[in-house]
């Protein structure tokens, strides 16, 4: 009797493994940068290209780096949530316009609203590469010491904000 149960047991284990596999998104690759210092980059401002934004200036505060682009479809879904979130003035949000034309980026902000305290550009995608960005939108929560504490792969959702990001911000801002 026991022996007959062995194939059934193996089958159940296999099913459990496959079922867990189905719930996971293969495009969500854990970032090795979490817990590491964020790259200290400088980038031109989107609204005033003569001005340079420096990540060093953000040391001492918790901030969110959101990568987006006017050609990015999922960003359109994320944007209203960011606009609403910016109104709460929880933390400074830096928007990195990734591999985009300035004119297109400006048009997008004029049309959908500008949630960013600093809108900056990454025309050749180098800053994105340093952050390990492989598909916008991706967002990074960076603490006072300049360490990346959390990465949102894909759009920031209301649930992610409520359940993960905002509680973590509160904790980091203490």
């Amino acid at each position: 009797m026991k022996k007959k149960l062995i194939p059934l047991g193996i089958f159940v284990v296999l099913v459990v493994f496959l079922a867990i596999g189905l719930t996971r998104d293969p495009h969500e690759i854990p970032s090795p940068l979490i817990g590491k210092a964020a790259p200290m980059f400088t980038a031109p401002n989107l609204l005033e290209p003569s001005q340079q934004f420096s990540a060093k200036d953000m040391l001492g505060q918790v901030w969110l780096l959101n990568t987006w682009a006017s050609w990015c479809v999922a960003c359109r879904q994320e944007h209203p949530i960011l606009v609403e979130f910016a109104k709460t003035k929880t933390l400074p949000i830096v928007g990195l316009d990734y591999k985009d034309q300035n004119a297109e980026g400006l048009k997008w902000l004029a049309r959908f609203g500008n949630p960013y305290d600093h809108a900056i550009t990454d025309k050749d995608g180098r800053i994105g590469i340093d952050f390990g960005v492989y598909g916008v939108p991706e967002s990074f929560l960076i603490d006072k010491a300049g360490v990346i504490r959390y990465k949102q792969i894909g759009p920031v959702t209301e649930e992610a904000l409520r359940d993960k990001i905002v509680p973590l911000i509160r904790e980091l801002q203490k």
Binding site: I29, S31, P32, L33, G125, D130, Y134, G135
Partner: protein, 155 residues
Amino acid sequence: MKYWLALVLALQCALSSYAGEATPLAEDPVVEQRMISISEELRCLVCQNESLAGSRADLAQDLRRELRELIKANKTDAEIMDYMVSRYGDFVRYRPAVKPITWLLWFGPFLLLIGAIVMLVRMVRRNQRGAESPVLDAAQRKKAQSLLKDSETPS
């Protein structure tokens, strides 16, 4: 007239595709060769079943550009791999470094193989033992003996 138009269009197609294929020719074939051999070891994260060498994704093109620059800056292969892994994680390599977190990946298949061999050996042994000594109780033994006797003296 129609034919001429068709011919012009066909020529245009041919010319544009020619131009498209000609652009990747790099100025330095040595750099290009090394870039290709490195990028074949790397996964394109956008279309995960393609290598960085073969992918047409935008990110793959950017990363090939970065690789060319790292090669021109005289970085070693190990340094270039570190550059990629520190940004995108072990998953970016088709053959990730052997370390505790990748042990299961590297040695798991051998564990399964050893397990299967052990099970096979045990099964074969059990079957052999069964075939060598069939155990008969007294009644069965008697019956067998009587059967053998019958066959010895044909009636």
